[in-house]
């Protein structure tokens, strides 16, 4: 606990004058577990996200084995999964469960909480110049709701009937009827509980992020001087704030249908062996509308933080100002707005009115405009840059690559007519794994490599990082690129055993190839895990500003203190991307460094405002009862 003691002395040293009554006494529990320090919460998010990511990736490897060698048996599966892999062959229901939970984990737990949770928490206070979040307590709650939600979700693997198995979208009626499939029972109940806890966590976090960005910027940090990371996190939080409550509504109605006998999503459909249900009048399409009203913004909740991170990393490591800062911000705003009016493109084949489909198609295709603006700005920033190929930079460039190759197929899928052929095929799987999955996870890796020195005060190994990048980059393309061709040929997603269907049998070799590439990708992540955990303890000590970056977080000491800066918070004098200015000797010009002719340093007020009432102290019960007398003017104050 010696580190805690050092932190304490720092904390008192620099806060002491402002509020001497605060004693940052930290035990193990308040420092590492129920911490209210945004930097610690960010690490908690990251570690939880990495663990969930490993689980999600492990699941994908298990079902890839099934897809590649559907007629073989793998005895180790029975050892690992017991009754779900009798004789070493994955149970079909368990296959569906793995697909479902893989999607849920990756979308919500890794790329929403793991990515946005980690970096919003780490960077928002540090980059806007705040001592902590607007409400550190809510921030802590946000993490612990997330943790609880993860535990509930994973606990569904311990249920006898298995976890939820109706796809990560949990469409009714599969999810609404407890007897529909084994996973529709307790597994789906736990899934719903987990998601509701997750929504609470996302809302608590998001509210905090928005408030901090809008209210707690340091002197000089106007909105147009915010690093693009902050713009991205801010708009991500706005999207979450507006869309997660709708998913909550959808989930509540589903719970009512499952457990209270209502018919919001259920009607008198016929079931084998049961006959017609006694429900009437419900519509499963209603669920899809509500779900995708969240679901589409969710795509950008995942992607935008990655885009923001890569903007910063690319600008820093190309030693150039980001090309078109304003255009970058406006395109983020455009993407955020459009993301709310395109949800129908997930539902083209639900029997939607073709006129409505056309409208959804137009607005969907318009998203290509801000996306292209961002892509070209990345490329223009890289153009003639003095590029430093750090692992973070490699991953950021990898994001641009994935964003282009995955984004292009979005134009195919956004066409209502083409979607008839492509819907629910491997083409969709390829599209969203490239543009949403790979691009975002690359952004997350870029962020981890770039801000690792800030989080742990040590450097990660560069060679291992580069190797990790190349293996991941190559394997991601090898896995997802062939899926386009399978999808165009009509191979449907979520099928258990293609060897049973002659027309899809021709893709067996491709499936084996994809699985081998996925295993390669899995091995590459082991490099990352080793590098990450090893560097936490044994990496070389980082300097204060190892990437020679401009943004405020690098003005703090490598040693973490609650409050971030000893003494005053730095003032900001310029935008975040002033690299390679011809009038400067150094090729960077930090936001917090005062230039010639710029105003004096700003001093924060030394004392908190006095909020006591005339120094009066009276017994609460006396005041309470006499209050009624005062109200009826029996007594004058």
């Amino acid at each position: 606990m010696s580190t805690a003691t050092i932190n304490d002395s720092h904390a008192v040293g620099h806060h002491g004058d402002a509020h001497g009554h605060d004693h940052h006494h930290q035990s193990f529990i308040t420092k590492y577990i129920f911490s209210t320090d945004h930097k610690m919460i960010s690490k908690q998010y990251l570690i939880t996200g990495i663990i969930m990511g490993c689980l999600g990736m492990g699941m994908s490897l298990l079902f890839r084995l099934q897809l590649a060698w559907p007629d073989e048996t793998f005895p180790f599966l029975e050892t690992l999964l017991g009754k779900w892999a009798k004789g070493g062959k994955l149970d079909p229901n368990y296959y569906m469960a793995l697909v479902t939970i893989h999607g849920t984990i990756m979308v919500f737990y890794v790329l929403t909480a793991g990515l946005s949770g980690t970096f919003s928490n780490l960077l928002i206070p540090l980059q806007v110049g705040a001592r902590d979040m607007a409400s550190p307590f809510m921030n802590m709650l946000s993490y612990w709701f997330f943790f609880l939600s993860s535990v509930v979700l994973m606990s569904s693997f311990l249920v006898e009937t298995g976890p939820a198995s109706s796809g990560w979208t949990v469409y009714p009626p599969l999810s609404a009827l407890e007897k529909a499939m084994p996973g529709s029972g307790m597994g789906t109940t736990l899934w719903l509980v987990a998601i509701i806890l997750f929504i609470v966590s996302a809302l608590l976090g998001g509210i905090n992020y928005i408030t901090t960005v809008l209210n707690m910027r340091t002197k000089g940090m106007s909105m147009n001087r915010l690093p693009l990371t902050i713009w991205a996190f801010f708009l991500t939080a706005v999207l979450g704030l507006l869309s997660f409550p709708v998913l909550l509504g959808a989930g509540l109605l589903l719970i009512f249908d499952r457990s209270f006998g209502t018919s919001f999503y259920l009607s008198d459909i016929h079931l084998n062996g049961v006959g017609a249900l006694s429900n009437s009048g419900g519509s499963p399409v209603l669920y899809q509308h509500l779900f995708w009203f969240l679901g589409h913004p969710e795509v950008y909740i995942i992607l935008m933080p990655a885009l923001g991170i890569s903007s910063e990393v690319i600008s820093t490591n190309a030693r150039k100002p980001i090309f078109g800062y304003t255009a970058m911000v406006i395109s983020l705003l455009g993407i955020s707005f459009l993301s709310f009016i395109v949800w129908g493109h997930h539902m083209f084949i639900t029997g939607m009115n073709p006129f409505l489909g056309t409208m959804f198609m137009y607005v969907t295709l318009i998203i290509a405009v801000p996306s292209a603006v961002k892509t070209f700005n990345y490329l223009a920033t890289l153009w003639k840059g003095n590029i430093r190929f750090t692992p973070a930079m490699l991953f950021a460039i990898g994001l641009v690559s994935m964003f282009i190759s995955g984004g292009l197929t979005g134009i195919y899928l956004g066409n209502a007519a083409l979607d008839i052929q492509l819907h629910d095929s491997y083409f969709v799987v390829a599209h969203f794994h490239l543009v949403m999955g790979s691009a975002s996870i690359f952004g997350m890796f870029a962020g981890i490599y770039h801000w690792f020195p800030k989080m742990y005060g040590r450097m990660m190994n560069k060679t291992l990082g580069s190797l990790h990048f190349w293996l991941t980059f190559i394997s991601a393309y090898l896995v997802f690129f062939p899926m386009h061709f399978m999808g165009l040929a009509g191979v449907p997603r979520r099928y258990y055993q293609f060897s049973l269907i002659p027309e899809f049998n021709i893709w067996m070799d491709v499936n084996i190839f994809i699985t081998l590439a996925a295993i390669l990708g899995g091995i590459a992540q082991l490099l990352f895990l080793y590098n990450f955990f090893n560097s936490i303890f044994r990496g070389p000590k980082a300097s204060k500003n190892p990437w020679e970056s401009n943004t405020l977080e690098w003005s703090t000491e490598t040693k973490h203190i609650h409050g971030n800066w000893e003494g005053d918070i730095p003032t900001v004098y310029r935008g975040p991307h002033e690299y390679s200015r011809p009038d400067r000797e150094l090729d960077y010009f930090p936001q917090y460094e005062i230039g010639d002719g710029e105003p004096e340093h700003y001093h924060a007020p030394a004392t908190a405002p006095d909020t006591s009432y005339d120094g009066k102290k009276e017994k609460a019960t006396t005041v309470f009862f006499s209050s009624f007398a005062h109200l009826f003017s029996l007594r004058r104050a």
Binding site: G129, S135, M216, L241, P609
Partner: protein, 200 residues
């Protein structure tokens, strides 16, 4: 909580108090929830009418009584706020208590409304064609009721704070949060009752 508050003081610079701002963001989020429910109701209704499966019924009078109660409670909430703002600190606890009592009466009135609905043979889980309209009424008002319970907790805390003389001109943040949220809840219920009446 006090500890974090004082850390933040040093660089809070906007016109909004950040805690007040948080409640506004919460209001945005919870508005989205009610928008989701009312949209779902609307879509379902047009489907139901097309398929001749939409049961219309008069809303129980208790729901309207609730609307009056919540409107009156909003007035008392506002009075409490103005008293605090005028440093008339000794009036604040009682005014808050009256608001609280009206809030509890609102809940009771809602429960009477539910029992009136049940007397009409309309239950949360309906199996007759078209009676999903009633399920919606239960679900929407139920979710609002949960919000009200949260408001009651806020009001209770505010009353305690006021009794400890912690609510006055220089310390309006909490009662402001309370007031904003409580008015929001009142407005939502009045909107919902009008919505349910006109969109039957």
């Amino acid at each position: 909580m006090k500890q974090e508050g004082s850390i933040n003081m040093s660089n809070k610079r906007s016109v909004f108090n950040e805690k007040t701002f948080i409640i506004w963001l919460f209001i945005v989020a919870s508005s989205m929830l009610f928008i989701a429910f009312t949209s779902a109701y609307w879509v379902h209704k047009s489907d139901g009418i097309r398929n001749n499966a939409w049961f219309e019924f008069a809303l129980p009078v208790q729901f309207w009584v609730s609307a009056v109660i919540v409107a009156v409670s909003s007035i008392f909430m506002q009075l409490a706020y103005s008293a605090a703002k005028k440093d008339d600190v000794y009036k604040v606890p009682s005014l808050l208590t009256i608001t609280l009592i009206l809030g509890i009466s609102f809940c009771i009135s809602q429960i009477y409304a539910y029992s009136a609905l049940m007397d009409m043979g309309l239950f949360f889980s309906n199996r007759n064609p078209g009676e999903i309209s009633a399920s919606f009424v239960y679900a929407i008002s139920g979710v609002h009721l949960v919000h009200i319970l949260g408001g009651l907790v806020l009001l209770t805390v505010a009353t305690v704070k006021a009794s400890r003389l912690q609510v006055h001109k220089k310390n309006l943040v909490f009662i402001n949060i309370c007031k904003t949220y409580w008015h929001f809840l009142g407005i939502v219920w009045i909107f919902l009752i009008l919505f349910l009446y006109f969109a039957r």
